[in-house]
Symmetry: C2
Subunit: 482 residues, 2 copies
């Protein structure tokens, strides 16, 4: 279904308005029918071997053309000595050979007419002056020949729809996440790879991933433009060190955030570590104050750490946005509820007071010694039915709060697996998010599927739950357009 | 070994200086030779049944005297109709009967000469005006008869040395943590119970736990005084809603913190939820600003959430304190290292720059394309040996930083289980803490014992690791006296 926009040349991308560029210009990268692997290998542990293996494990269903002058076959696949000998012009070529040979290889790609290339090889600007010269040469050759490039010094693309996986990291090191609505873009390869592993561990579904490393051509703005238009992408997560061009980024960020929620993690925030950043992917950070202002202006949702990144993407893709900052806390333990309330207020959320008439109304469905003051403590003997009663009255029948936080503690006498269905009903009937907060511990981990089977994510610390509650409000755009 | 201070009457406690009161006055609570259980039962799921069961499961090795007018035996134990009929004066009595009968029961305790009582029953001040009257009466009877009381509305004591466990919560709901150096005090029962479960899940060893609920007599100050003097307690963790008496608390907190690190979590920080707090354990919160000032003045280490509480206790009990705020970050992934650096700076830590001579020196033991700028990126191909080389040069041979953060990512080609021993050696030779940060994910969780078997804790998110690094500096008192 993405095929209709296949292969658009670079020229048109440069003149079209921003909102038209993204998807078409990257379509051959995310959704190629044929891929050359330059530097493919059969030697165990070589990158060219790993990429081929991962493409197979991911069940890529296009054609694969290994290129290696020393081999005639890799497994059942015919291997070509050079790209000039390929039987067709592949939609995409992935280059994995040493940095010193890349420019020459790119010239051959140009002669062959190949227009889309991922240069995974490291050894460019991130390695200092010599590498920078090499990178500039690579960029010139690409521009002269109107070849679009992802990289160098990158992992390329992982896609759960086209089943492309150019990442050379074995699955024993980085588990591949299951199919879902979140797409990721990242300058850093290791960062996004570990995010994928974390997403897999945290049961977060991923649609597409792009890592552009030193980004001599395709960068964060292109990724945002593509994801903005991509119907499979419901939420975008982006990891930034620095941006290539500020105004372009601002335009793309605003455009993407107008279409769907965009979660951003920016590193190299502080001047004192700007040097370390430069040596990482050759990026220049710029002032964090300007970034922060740009994020706010564009409507991006900023997070501070890897886990908050995953949690926030998961919450936003699974739950309705919150139309305000008022939080109702319902649980079976007083001290934990109070801790949630404090954390909420520290994060700028509000804990409205249950006024007399609501409090009296809530008393009808709760135990005599329950506390119906927000944060509500149903007590350890409180039932799932009481939780439902309170949430229904306060979130569905009345508009007491914009967000519910339910404290799930397993093993209590009256708790049952019915709670998953109860919360799912409340979310549907209220159109409001209910965030499930629980504690790490065997019982709570074992029972996560009670909620997850209903599409409700579970957060294994009070702080994690409160942070996503905050971001669920930030993700509200005044309309429900997705 | 604690027996020499056994049983000191209340009179002496009131005149001795603060540092002499604590341990002696609570000794019969934490370390009784004989315990009466008033309200003991054999009916499944009744609290009196659960407490008896938990005492047996915990292998309490003193004498147990069940009291229940309707039973003659519970299992092999003789059951007494009333405390007046007990064959001796037990060191401790635990009362589990309905609130309305507690005052009368306490009068019987007075006649019998019992001096130490835990009133677990709920239904006092936390239930409003009637309950408050009952609680005042209970307090009067206790004072008249010089009976010391923990509670009412509490779980009492859990002790991994005396093997006392008065908590009525079954182990299927709250796992009991293993033996270790951290003691916990809490106003809220559910909070501390869940902390115990979390400690168990997080492999944090616990020595003693006290929950005093409505605290008509024994309170947070008594607990701090006791733990200050207790040789088994290396670190104290305290959960506060409000304190009974400000000056007394300040004195006890200062005293305890002068002896060992004290970690505090205060809830009900914000005025808007003070009402909810009152209904929880009948506490009045007071202004958080005053609390914060008191914590700082006393040298308490303040945390914000349940997980930070457990993490901080674990870090402080396992690692040396940090003599300053300078952090060296060593890892195998650039973006993650940068994220750690940002989080450190946000938490008030410093990331010193690796100046030219150190940088050159570090180059000798790292890969050519590694980055020796702090945060140091050994790259995914960097070896354990490189990590050791860098940490040895920067933390042992030089005083480049006060804290090391090592980013452990498993599955890399050169990583091995030798890293546990390496870090242990660095910590010993430098006298500095090395905090192990890793990501949630199956591999990292599976390998935690590589570090934990050497006594080094592992933190499963970058943010958690950075927060403990901060607290390791706050725990430094200028001397290494424990």
């Amino acid at each position: 279904m993405l095929g209709s926009h296949r292969i658009v040349s670079n020229e048109s991308a440069n003149v079209e308005p921003v909102e038209m560029q993204g998807r078409k210009s990257l379509e051959s990268f995310f959704n190629p029918r044929s891929v050359a692997i330059v530097g493919a290998s059969s030697t165990p542990r070589k990158l060219g071997t790993l990429v081929l293996q991962n493409m197979r494990l991911q069940s890529f269903n296009g054609d694969i053309y290994p290129v290696n002058p020393k081999l005639t076959h890799i497994g059942a696949l015919k291997c070509y000595r050079r790209v000039s000998e390929l039987p067709c012009i592949p939609d995409l070529s992935v280059i994995l050979i040493p940095a010193g040979s890349v420019v020459e290889a790119l010239r051959e790609h140009a002669s062959k007419g190949i227009k889309n290339v991922i240069v995974m090889s490291a050894g460019f600007k991130e390695m200092g002056a010599d590498g920078e010269r090499l990178q500039n040469e690579l960029q010139s050759v690409a521009r002269e020949n109107r070849i679009r490039i992802i990289g160098p010094n990158c992992l390329g693309i992982y896609d759960n729809f086209s089943r492309l996986d150019t990442f050379f990291i074995p699955r024993s090191l980085i588990q591949r996440p299951h199919y879902g609505g979140v797409s990721l873009a990242s300058q850093s390869g290791s960062f996004v790879a570990h995010l994928m592993d974390l997403a897999s561990f945290e049961h977060l579904g991923i649609s597409r991933v792009i890592n552009y490393g030193n980004k001599i051509d395709i960068n964060e703005s292109d990724a945002l433009n593509y994801f903005a238009e991509d119907p499979k992408t419901k939420v975008v997560g982006i990891y930034l060190e620095g941006v290539t061009e500020g105004r372009q980024f601002l335009r793309s960020a605003e455009y993407c955030a107008s279409k769907k929620p965009v979660v951003v993690l920016k590193t190299g925030k502080h001047e004192s570590i700007a040097n370390a950043l430069t040596s990482h992917t050759g990026a220049i950070a710029g002032s964090y104050t300007s970034y922060k202002a740009a994020f706010r202006k564009s409507g991006l949702i900023e997070v501070e750490s890897e886990l908050e990144f995953i949690d926030t993407c998961k919450a936003i893709v699974s739950l309705p946005a919150a139309r305000g900052r008022r939080v109702l806390i319902v649980g079976h333990a007083g001290g934990l509820g109070l801790t949630v309330a404090d954390l909420c207020i520290s994060e700028g959320l509000e804990i409205p007071e249950t006024k007399k008439d609501l409090a009296e109304s809530l008393k009808e469905g709760t135990l005599p010694y329950a506390s119906v003051r927000n944060p509500i403590d149903l007590t350890a003997s409180g039932s799932d039915g009481s939780a439902e009663f309170v949430l229904e009255r306060a979130l569905v029948e009345r508009d007491f709060a914009d967000i519910g936080i339910y404290l799930a503690l397993w093993g209590l006498p009256q708790s049952s697996e019915r709670i998953g269905e109860i919360l799912s009903g409340i979310i549907k009937r209220s159109g409001k998010p209910v965030v499930v907060a629980t504690l790490e511990g065997k019982k709570c981990v074992d029972k996560r599927s009670v909620f997850e089977s209903k599409g409700i994510p579970v957060f294994f610390s009070l702080e994690r739950a409160v942070k996503v509650a905050k971001h669920l409000n930030e993700s509200y755009r005044g309309t429900l357009d997705d």
